[in-house]
């Protein structure tokens, strides 16, 4: 943290030094960005800088300014349309589209920010040129600069495209999402025909409050608990299962290990949603599994034990909250194990044979070897991927949504009042809110919360598993 602050301080100090100690040409560069280059005979660089500056000014006047002017209100002019029956055409007023204003404003702010960074680094570069000139060092020609981009500065060339991709695909949408959480963008306020505006922290307050009609707070707590339960269960069951499966298949006594491994990989090759939808109909209230269970008397037995309500003639595999939760975890084990098995197979093959050998000579039995050597080694190597798995499971949309959509109906009225279900994860609830109820504002709030949970969890566990000299222990 301190390092970051120091670095930031130095960043601005360098800029100040450049501005204070620079000669007249460097100072002129603060107004005309190319000036410092022209005087050092870097004409092409100078022209490029000037062009960038002109483009920025044009962008500010033509694009950023009109949008940012409305950023405070997100637009005030309502969409209006008048139809003329005689000419069969309609005229539309010059209306404001809140969403476009928001989007364009954020892009504008981002571009201005990037330009400022560029501007500062330009000042520093120009000052560096001045110093070089004073010290009589060689100043690159444009051709040499270009060549440098393919040699000592090749990493910059290489990373430009991916960096732009990340900005457009990840950073800007996330910024928009965060902004939407502070607006009233929902079905009642959908552009272009309606405007939406800023509402401050209201949405966050709704999420954590629990008044009579707004049961969001209640639903949020219940769903958060189940999400975490699910993430823990799903991660560890598939992890342990995968390791055991890999152990069994790799065992010397197992016949045809390659066949078994291939069979499991085939299970991966079938798209998940196909398997899940099939499984859903297998376990439907009148599905094949239920018919089978009724015929062999299992349904009757479970009724007697009290696991199935007496008024049902079937096992509510995916329609009763308790049953559904257990089934979802079990089905996920079945789907998730092949992946973990593949990972574990690779790691297991790399356990130093001498360690296991010496343990065996010391008289350790297979169980002891597994607990004392294999598992610690596995945990060390796969620790980071375990954390990613956990985060992935927090957001495991497919399994839950595909197995329960259109099948599961909640019997908890408070959950129902905020469109949630017992088996919902935060992410499926979020999907339902946006996709079926157009409640973009609350979905954004939930999205932010999910992000915070995942980020916090990842940071804490990563720093704990990776720090220290654990590596030494296994050498």
């Amino acid at each position: 943290m301190k390092n970051a602050l120091n670095a930031l301080g130095k960043y601005f100090k360098d800029f100040g030094v450049a501005f204070a100690k620079g000669d007249i040409w460097v100072k002129l560069s603060a107004v005309l960005m190319g000036a410092g280059y022209f005087v050092r005979k870097q004409v092409v660089n100078g022209i490029i800088m000037c062009l960038v500056e002109v483009m920025f000014v044009v962008l500010c006047v033509g694009y950023a300014a009109p949008n940012l002017a409305k950023f405070g209100t997100l637009g005030t002019v309502q969409f209006e349309q008048v139809f003329d029956p005689l000419t069969m055409t309609s005229t539309v007023n010059d209306y404001d589209n809140s969403f476009l204003i928001l989007l364009n404003s954020i892009i504008s702010l981002f571009l201005i920010f990037v330009f400022l960074l560029f501007y500062i680094s330009n000042m520093k570069a120009v000052y560096r040129l001045q110093l070089k000139k004073e010290n009589g060092e060689h100043i690159n020609t444009f051709r040499e600069d270009v060549r440098a981009m393919f040699n000592e500065k090749f990493h910059i060339t290489l990373l430009t495209l991916p960096a732009i991709g990340i900005v457009i695909m990840n950073i800007l949408p996330i910024l928009v999402l965060i902004a939407v959480a502070f607006t009233n963008y929902d079905q009642q306020h959908m552009p272009p025909s309606a405007l939406f505006t800023w509402v401050g922290w209201t949405n966050f307050k709704n999420l954590f409050s629990n008044s009579v009609t707004v049961t969001f707070g209640y639903s949020f707590r219940k769903i958060l608990v189940w999400t975490l339960e699910w993430a823990v269960l799903a991660t560890f069951t598939t992890y342990i299962g995968g390791i055991l499966m890999a152990k069994f298949i790799n065992d010397k006594r197992t016949k045809l290990p390659k066949l078994w491994r291939t069979l499991f990989i085939i299970a991966i090759a079938v798209p998940q949603f196909v398997t899940l939808l099939l499984v859903r109909s297998f376990f439907a209230d009148s599905g094949i599994v239920n018919t089978f269970c009724t015929n062999i008397g299992l349904t009757g037995f479970l009724k007697n034990v009290g696991l199935v309500p007496s008024n049902l003639s079937y096992i509510p595999f995916l329609t009763n909250p308790g049953w559904a939760k257990v089934m979802i975890v079990i089905i996920n084990i079945w789907i998730g194990i092949p992946y973990q098995m593949l990972v574990a197979t690779g790691v297991l093959m790399n356990i130093p044979e001498d360690q296991i050998e010496s343990a065996r000579i010391d008289g350790a039995n297979p169980m002891q070897i597994f607990v004392k050597i294999t598992m610690p080694y596995m945990l060390f190597v796969t620790g980071p991927s375990l954390i990613t798995d956990f985060v992935k499971n927090i957001n495991n949309f497919n399994v839950i949504y595909l197995l329960t959509q259109d099948v599961f109906v909640t019997s908890d009225q408070l959950l129902a009042n905020s469109n949630a279900k017992e088996i919902d994860l935060l992410v499926t609830w979020l999907f339902r809110l946006t996709n079926e109820y157009y409640n973009y504002k609350m979905a954004s709030v939930i999205g932010i919360i999910v992000f915070i949970i995942c980020a916090a969890f990842t940071l804490v566990t990563f720093s704990r598993t990776i720090k220290g000299d654990k590596e030494e222990e296994f050498q």
């Binding site: 029956p85 991916p162 025909s193 309606a194 309500p309 259109d406």
Partner: protein, 446 residues
């Protein structure tokens, strides 16, 4: 150097991959069916058969003439119809183009189910189709989102006068007409196997349960679904309506509400009337376990195949509330065609919508797909009248209301149905149960 070139290419490829990956998530791209170039072979079509201005006022003729005169460039439009309607719509589009030989049309036909049209349209109204079909329950949301052009004038036929009153009501909001009725068959009613039930049996739900019980069979209804559970509460005279701001007014917890809830509990307690989703129902009908069900025309084929000559349909039965017989109500359902106000060719879009819903098109739709017409003249034909499912719908129409309800209704109502159909397992006080449901249904929409 070579390595660097390779590395650069790889980096570029990765970025491109990321971009492509994101692109895949974009909204549906309607399976484009761009008709081949317009050759003026239109001459050979039976021109006299359909003069568009036949029953319209002279002013409308002028408007169309103006429009044709004002149209110089090709008219590009997108039409969305359901997957099953593609063949018929393609044919109707050809007929439409033939009607205006002087104009070049480039009409793209996309597949979009009427039941999900709203979801796709509301994602981006400006990018949605110029003319699209949708179910009437979506009309409020669509109008509110500015996705429907008000029908302020008719050019080729009088929409309000030619369609049945219920359809016109369903196509309007606040007394203004916003869409063109296309079919009148989207409601629900009772299918039954006439080898099990007599015509008298199906008049009362209690009697049906008695008969089915004796035969060892089931009666199916999707009780844990707001759309169907409405039949009981509305039938007993309780109110549910939509407010201007998108919230609901609901009196299901008022006096008499608990009697309805008790009636549903009693009916399902028999184990004969079972809560069952649409897909399960199809399987169970085919397997012969279900001999009667509350469902809509889309299941007519399933029932007909399973029961053969014994396939029959009628209005919903009565049920006993506190000892008194009440006629079950229902949601009437219509499929409508709407015009997108953001269309670049608004005039042509309106003319096309009129064409797709006029009497001849509705007749063609019935002949091709068995969909009940909303047009009074088309509905009066013998062929339509003798279709059992459509006749049953017409019978039920007297007790049906158009679906006008806000989004907050569905989830609480579904849960109420679930609790009642499973026999109120927690033994919650019925008044309390209804109070919570109504709180959810009437929750404010801010």
């Amino acid at each position: 150097m070579k390595k660097k070139v390779l590395a650069t290419l790889l980096a570029a490829a990765m970025t491109a991959g990321a971009l492509a990956g994101c692109g895949g998530g974009a909204a549906e791209t309607p399976a484009a069916e761009t008709p081949a170039a317009e050759t003026p072979a239109a001459e050979e079509t039976p021109a006299a058969e359909e003069t568009p201005a036949a029953e319209a006022a002279p002013a409308a003729n002028d408007a169309i003439a103006n429009l044709i005169a004002a149209t110089t460039s090709p008219v590009t439009m997108t039409v969305w119809a359901s997957e099953e309607d593609q063949d018929l719509t393609t044919k109707l589009l050809d007929d439409f183009k033939a009607l205006y030989p002087d104009v070049t049309f480039e009409i793209t036909l996309g597949a979009e189910s009427e039941s999900t049209a709203k979801d796709t349209v509301l994602t981006d109204v400006e990018a949605a189709a110029d003319v699209y079909a949708f179910a009437d329950d979506q009309i409020n949301d669509l109008v509110q989102a500015g996705a429907l052009q008000e029908v302020v004038a008719n050019y080729t036929y009088d929409v309000a006068a030619s369609n049945v009153a219920g359809a016109v009501e369903a196509a309007g909001v606040d007394g203004k007409l916003y869409a063109y009725p296309m079919t009148a068959d989207n409601g629900y009613f009772m299918f039954y196997d006439s080898s099990v039930f007599t015509e008298d049996d199906v008049k009362s739900l209690e009697k049906m349960i008695e008969v089915a019980d004796a035969a060892g069979k089931k009666i199916a209804m999707d009780i844990s679904n707001g759309w169907y559970i409405y039949a009981f509460f509305q039938g007993a005279g309780l109110q549910l309506s939509l407010n201007d701001d998108g919230s609901n007014t609901c009196t299901w917890n008022a006096a008499g509400g608990t009697d309805v809830a008790q009636a549903i509990l009693d009916l399902t307690a028999s184990g004969v009337l079972v809560d069952m989703g649409d897909e399960d129902m199809a399987t169970q009908i085919a397997e012969g376990n279900v001999v009667a069900c509350v469902n809509g025309t889309w299941r007519a084929e399933t029932a007909q195949q399973a029961w053969g000559d014994n396939y029959a349909a009628t209005k919903l039965p009565t049920f006993k509330v506190a000892g008194k017989d009440c006629q079950m109500s229902s949601y009437s359902g219509y499929k409508l065609i709407g015009v997108n106000p953001h269309s670049a060719n608004l005039g042509w879009a309106m003319l096309l919508a009129e064409f797709l819903t006029n009497e001849d098109s509705q007749k063609a739709r019935f002949e091709a797909r068995g969909l009940g017409p909303a047009n009074s003249a088309a509905a009066a034909s013998d062929a339509v009248q003798s279709n059992p499912a459509i006749a049953a719908l017409a019978e039920q129409a007297a007790y049906a209301t158009p679906q006008r309800v806000g989004g907050n209704f569905w989830s609480p109502a579904e849960t109420l149905g679930q609790i009642l159909a499973s026999g109120n397992p927690d033994g919650t006080d019925l008044q309390q149960l209804l109070d919570t449901t109504v709180e959810g249904i009437t929750a404010p929409v801010e």
